[in-house]
Amino acid sequence: MAEVMKLPEESLEEAVPERRPGKERRLVLRLLDYWRGITGDRNYPSLNDVRSDDIADMWPFCFVLDVSENADDPLLRYVGEEIIECYGAPCVNLRVSEIRKDSLLDVATSYISEIQRKGVPISYGNSFKSDNGEGVLCRSILLPLSDNNETISLILGGANYLKNPKSK
């Protein structure tokens, strides 16, 4: 696995508060922008509105959680290949409770209850130590999806990370 993942360092949270001219590069803001676009005037978009081709560069960093059957312990219906690579094992169809601790998926799904409670996109940054003791800095976003525009039935997640942030 590469020491620094494919997304550039600028994709993670930056210290520059000014809005930079040009195209937004940060994954969470780009994904949020896409979510806003497909939401339109509704409360939530549905999974059918999400077209992986439209977000081909971000899709490998995405995952979809199904909260319709068990809101307390959602099921991972889709996990992008970059997330799987970081996790180091197959994780599609895992329940959140089955996700390995101190992993990207673990921290990225740690605030599911909050998004279900508040019903709005939430983005948190986090850090954890990987299996080999490496520090990993990550930023994730959870975006609500709904089949009926009222109840959150699925959650679209996106996450990217940076290994050994101090060594950079």
Partner: protein
């Protein structure tokens, strides 16, 4: 201390939570982006600090969309204009009232002067008539007695 940043948008006459971040920079970037769009009339970012020791939450607004500032400036300008108009109207009314009072006073003064003159004339006429009567009376008495 746990700090989170809530982006609020003004929708249908009320503020609604749009999204939540733990990063000030991301929240501000997103709020600015929303502000540049035309979908929402106003946007703001609220910083919420939760003190675990005291269990207290402190909220403060750290960003207001320029549209809010523009609207506030417009409202302020409108208020100022209305206030100036009202003051001008009040001043005009005051001047008109003063002028009316002065005209009334002059009228009254003129009326009083005319009354006084009439009174003087009547008194003088009375004195003349009385004097003539006295003279005629004295003459009559002198001729007959």
């Amino acid at each position: 201390m746990i700090v989170s940043y809530e982006i609020h948008t003004f929708v249908g006459g009320e503020w609604k939570i749009d999204s939540i971040f733990d990063s000030r920079d991301l929240a501000l970037s997103e709020a600015r982006r929303i502000d540049e769009g035309k979908r929402y009339s106003a946007v703001r970012v609220i910083e919420e600090s939760f003190d675990e020791g005291t269990q207290r939450v402190n909220s403060r607004t750290i960003y207001r969309g320029s549209k809010i500032d523009d609207e506030n400036a417009d409202a302020l300008e409108r208020k100022k204009r209305v206030r100036t108009e009202v003051q001008a109207r009040d001043a005009k009314k005051k001047i008109e009232k003063k002028q009316a009072a002065r005209a009334q006073a002059q009228k009254t003064k003129k009326k009083n002067f005319q009354g006084a003159m009439l009174m003087v004339f009547l008194k003088a006429t009375g004195i003349v008539i009385f004097g003539a009567g006295v003279i005629i009376g004295i003459r009559y008495l002198a001729l007959h007695f």
